[in-house]
């Protein structure tokens, strides 16, 4: 099969590149080994301090509701983090003192949402908190088993009964100006969080849960859908296992499922992620990029890979594929002409592009521009 561009990796970077290339009239395919980091997406596009129209357009067209408001967001353990561009699910405040009296709603038997930690964190900011529990069994039958009390399972139930939650909260609400709910709403329908906000006569804040991330999975599905609507080919559950490179030009990539049916293209984009998704692989002797054996930017001495303190910056997370200003990599010092590298596989080798979601989006757009030029 032949495309204009084949993208290895279907996470945020791969999808943004795919969508913007399809929009530019290119035919593309994305090969994705399963789900990616969007599965535990916090809902905030970290390290984006500005909101280019181009980015907002991509999200709007995909039905993803985002808002841009530099400030702070509430973290699930009751702390705050600087944020700017976020999904609508995530409230952004100018300061951590976003309310006076807060009603925190949790579900009985749900251990992945930290209501008491939230309360303590908010009390430190001078807020008064009250925690109330809803019983899922009273909202929906059949009740979830004790081990199904995980974000996505609850969210599937909530898709049908979120209006009941609104009613319950209205009953529980006394003089609180703010209500905090777990991020388990709107798995299918991105408008639900907004509609919940409209239904409750107080400021509604959704706080994150342990993964899986409901807004993250929704976002992944929306981006994938948008990409497919634009005519992109998303190969889910397949993995690129190798590539044919001839005279420093990638001819095609080989996938596990399509075996001899190579995917050919003029351009290739490597968006295969960092260690977690095996875009980078480590063993006691080295860290390497397994598909093209691209030159790496890292220190080979294993003793320098880690900081012994967990909370500190971990050097290994900064390692990445070595690329030029155009995000093009090299093999044994020789540039590969039609290959581009985007997203977290770059590590911290391009600090000007930010990190996390910011790096994914910026590098994807930059490469799209280079390819379509």
């Amino acid at each position: 099969m032949r495309f204009d561009t084949v993208i290895v990796g279907g996470g945020l970077a791969g999808l943004i590149a795919g969508i913007s290339l399809q929009k530019a009239g290119k035919s593309t395919a994305i090969v994705s080994t399963g789900q990616n980091a969007l599965h535990f997406f916090s809902g905030c596009f970290e390290s984006i301090q500005e909101a280019p129209q181009q980015v907002l357009d991509i999200f709007n067209e995909a039905g993803i509701r985002v808002h841009y408001k530099p400030g702070v967001r509430l973290m699930p353990m009751g702390t705050f983090k600087e944020s700017a561009l976020s999904l609508d699910d995530v409230s952004l405040f100018p300061t951590p003192q976003f309310g006076k009296r807060v009603l925190i709603i949790n579900f009985m038997g749900y251990h992945d949402f930290f209501s008491s930690f939230l309360a303590e964190g908010l009390e430190k900011q001078g807020m008064e908190c009250r925690i109330r529990f809803l019983t899922l069994g009273e909202l929906t039958q059949p009740e979830l088993g004790p081990n199904e009390m995980r974000a996505v399972q609850i969210a599937r139930k909530m898709d049908d009964v979120w209006e009941k939650v609104v009613q319950e909260v209205r009953v529980l609400l006394k003089d609180e100006d703010t209500v905090i709910l777990p991020q388990v709403f709107g798995l299918k329908d991105a408008s639900v969080p907004t509609r919940i906000r409209q239904g409750i006569p107080a400021q509604v804040v959704f706080a994150g849960t342990l993964p899986p991330s409901v807004p993250g999975i929704r976002t992944q599905m929306q981006l994938k859908k948008r990409y497919e609507v634009l005519g992109g080919t998303y190969l889910m559950g397949d993995r690129v296992t190798g590539a044919h490179v001839y005279q420093d030009v990638v001819q095609n990539v080989v996938t596990k499922q399509l075996d001899r049916h190579y995917l050919e293209a003029d351009h290739f984009i490597l968006a295969s992620g960092s260690f977690f998704s095996k875009g980078l692989v480590s063993n006691p002797f080295k860290i390497y990029e397994p598909l093209f054996e691209l030159d790496m930017d890292y220190n080979q001495d294993r003793n320098t890979w880690y900081n012994p303190t967990f909370a500190n910056h971990q050097p290994y997370m900064g390692f990445g594929v070595k690329t030029d200003a155009n995000l093009q990599p090299s093999r044994k010092g020789v540039p590969v002409k039609n290959l581009y590298v985007i997203g977290s596989i770059l590590g911290e080798t391009h600090p000007e592009l930010g990190s996390g979601a910011g790096l994914a989006i910026r590098s994807a757009l930059k490469v799209t521009e280079l390819i379509t030029k």
Binding site: A37, F40, S42, E46, M75, P76, M77, G78, T79, F80, K81, M108, G109, H111, D112, F114, S116, F117, A119, E120, G145, P146, N147, M149, G208, L210, P211, S213, S274, F275, F276, K278, V281, S282, N283, P284, R302, N303, W305, Y306, P308, T309, F310, A311, Q314, Y316, M317, G356
Partner: protein
């Protein structure tokens, strides 16, 4: 009666201290046990988890060997729920001297250890993970034992016999009148409270830190701290203990324990002041893997979970730089006869397998001093949890059709698991999925086993000991702890400490899937949860 007065005070919550407290309490004494942190934090929890048959000592130390096999057989009965009767192999590799096997088997038999030479083919069938190149194999009654569980069960039984346990309680001084020890001064590291406790006898069972405690009492006990490093592999590769049939050396034992297997150890002498903070070096990691592969080649491509090190509390006897040839025999010192200090006993040396005997010896000495004539019953009375059959039977008795988590709980708690059955299905919610630990089990550990931190919970329930090393369960369990002791702020610090402890064991082997996991954990805690 003054609540601060006891018949005997035991310093040290390792297996020796817990065992001694249990024995004393069973003989009717009013006991107090103190530890500066938690149970089983020293050598007790930092070894292979091997219940020696004694075979390993048979050639060099027949006395210890005979002790081991007697205790091994006793513990199978009284501590059944802590022990996996896996049996062990002593294998001879092509580079080893097969002649050693003969003297080894003879020595085992002399010590009363059943040692059967078996055909290498049979050994390969019995234990498919063993190095296929073996040229000889001997089958011995080695077992694996969960030292945390064993220690907790002893402590629990002491409590059931009226004993008092004070953890996070550091001994700051020994109260003396002339040459007689009267009690201890303590500082509670949680509450900051300073309290004195009194008893006619104080037992120093503080392992490698026994030297410091002895110093406080004005006596000299020279410890010989020897660091041993070990590696935990992420799943069970072997189901029998695999030993090298040669003179004891580095990394020549591979022990299956619960859901993992452990290879070790190295041995190097370290200064006493480094004992509290031992780290595994890259060279030790290399050595452990290289030698481990010789026992079971599969280890070369098996995910490693973590690296850790412990300090053996050996009593120095000579100038041997390696510490290997020192007798691991039990040292029970009556400081009255030895140093002229009354009311002070040090029990040290020995090994995990012989803890019960050590406790019996110390308790005998205590009783003799107090003039109490009561026989030791720890060799015949099962520990709480070990009274009824196998975990499958136990689980089936309680739940008609037990789930995996219920079976896992029964395997950890033995018959005590009946106590976590409740009418509320919510108690079945899994907090730790890797090791299948439910909310009920965690709450039971908080209520009855003195767990006050995540690390305490880990020792008692295996929460966070699995593949993901506490990725999700740390916060879930922290929520339960916070609810139990009502302090969120403390729990925040607890999570940080727990993650740091996990990372400490991860980064020395930080590659492959372990590094992938670590990266994921970083994301979850820093970017998703905001810790």
């Amino acid at each position: 009666m003054n609540p601060n007065e006891f018949d005997v005070i035991i310093i040290g919550g390792g297996i020796t201290g817990a065992g001694t407290q249990r024995d004393c309490a069973m003989r009717g004494l009013r006991t107090l046990l103190v530890d500066r942190s938690d149970i089983a934090t020293g050598a007790t929890g930092r070894n292979h988890g091997l219940l020696h048959s004694g075979a390993r000592y048979a050639v060099n130390d027949p006395e210890s060997a005979a002790e081991c096999i007697r205790e091994n057989m006793i513990l199978r009965r009284v501590a059944a729920h802590c022990i996996d009767e896996s049996d062990g192999l002593f294998v001879t590799l092509p580079e080893d001297d097969l002649d050693y096997q003969k003297s080894f088997v003879q020595a085992c038999r002399d010590a009363g250890i059943r040692a059967d030479i078996i055909d290498p083919d049979l050994a390969r069938r019995l234990e498919p993970a063993v190095n296929p190149d073996i040229i000889g194999a001997v089958r011995v009654p080695d077992c694996s034992v969960d030292p945390f569980r064993l220690c907790a069960a002893n402590m629990l039984d002491a409590k059931l016999h009226g004993g008092q346990v004070r953890l996070q309680t550091e001994v700051t001084g020994i109260i003396k009148e002339g040459n007689t020890v009267k009690g201890i001064r303590t500082h509670n590291r949680n509450t900051g409270e300073d309290l004195d406790f009194y008893a006619p006898i104080v037992v120093n069972a503080s392992g490698v830190w026994g030297q410091e405690i002895a110093q406080m009492a004005g006596v000299k006990v020279g410890m010989f701290p020897a660091k041993g490093s070990l590696l935990i592999f992420a799943h069970r590769v072997n189901n029998m203990v695999i030993n090298r049939c040669r003179k004891p050396s580095n990394a020549d034992i591979l022990v299956p324990g619960d859901t993992v297997c452990i290879v070790g150890t190295t041995s190097s002498r370290i200064p006493l002041e480094e004992c509290r903070n031992v780290a595994v070096t890259p060279d030790e990691v290399t050595l452990l893997i290289t030698e481990g592969i010789k026992l079971a080649p599969r280890l070369s491509s098996t995910r490693i979970l973590r690296a850790y090190a412990g300090v053996r509390p050996l009593v120095s006897a000579d100038d041997d730089p390696s510490g290997r040839n020192i007798s691991r025999g039990i040292v029970c010192l009556d400081h009255e006869t030895r140093d002229g200090i009354k009311g002070f006993i040090t029990i040290t040396g020995g090994k995990l397998t012989s803890y019960r005997l050590m406790a019996e010896m110390a308790t005998d000495m205590v009783c003799k001093k107090l003039g109490i004539d009561k026989a030791c019953e720890t060799a015949i009375t099962p520990l709480p949890g070990s009274e009824e059959g196998s975990y499958e039977e136990v689980a089936k008795k309680i739940w008609e059709n037990p789930t995996v988590a219920q079976k896992a709980a029964a395997a950890r708690m033995g018959s005590r698991v009946a106590r976590i059955r409740s009418g509320d299905r919510r108690d079945e919610a899994l907090i730790c999925e890797c090791e299948q630990v439910s909310m009920g089990e965690i709450n039971a550990a908080i209520d009855r086993l003195e767990a006050s931190t995540l690390t305490d919970l880990r020792r008692r329930t295996r929460v966070g000991m699995g593949t993901c090393q506490g990725e999700f369960c740390a916060c879930r369990a922290a929520g339960l702890l916070a609810k139990a002791h009502g302090c969120i702020e403390k729990e925040r610090a607890d999570i940080d400490f727990f993650l740091q402890e996990r990372w400490k064991g991860n980064f020395p082997i930080g590659w492959g899937d372990t590094l992938r996991e670590a990266e994921y954990t970083q994301w979850v805690y820093k970017h998703v949860l905001g810790i």
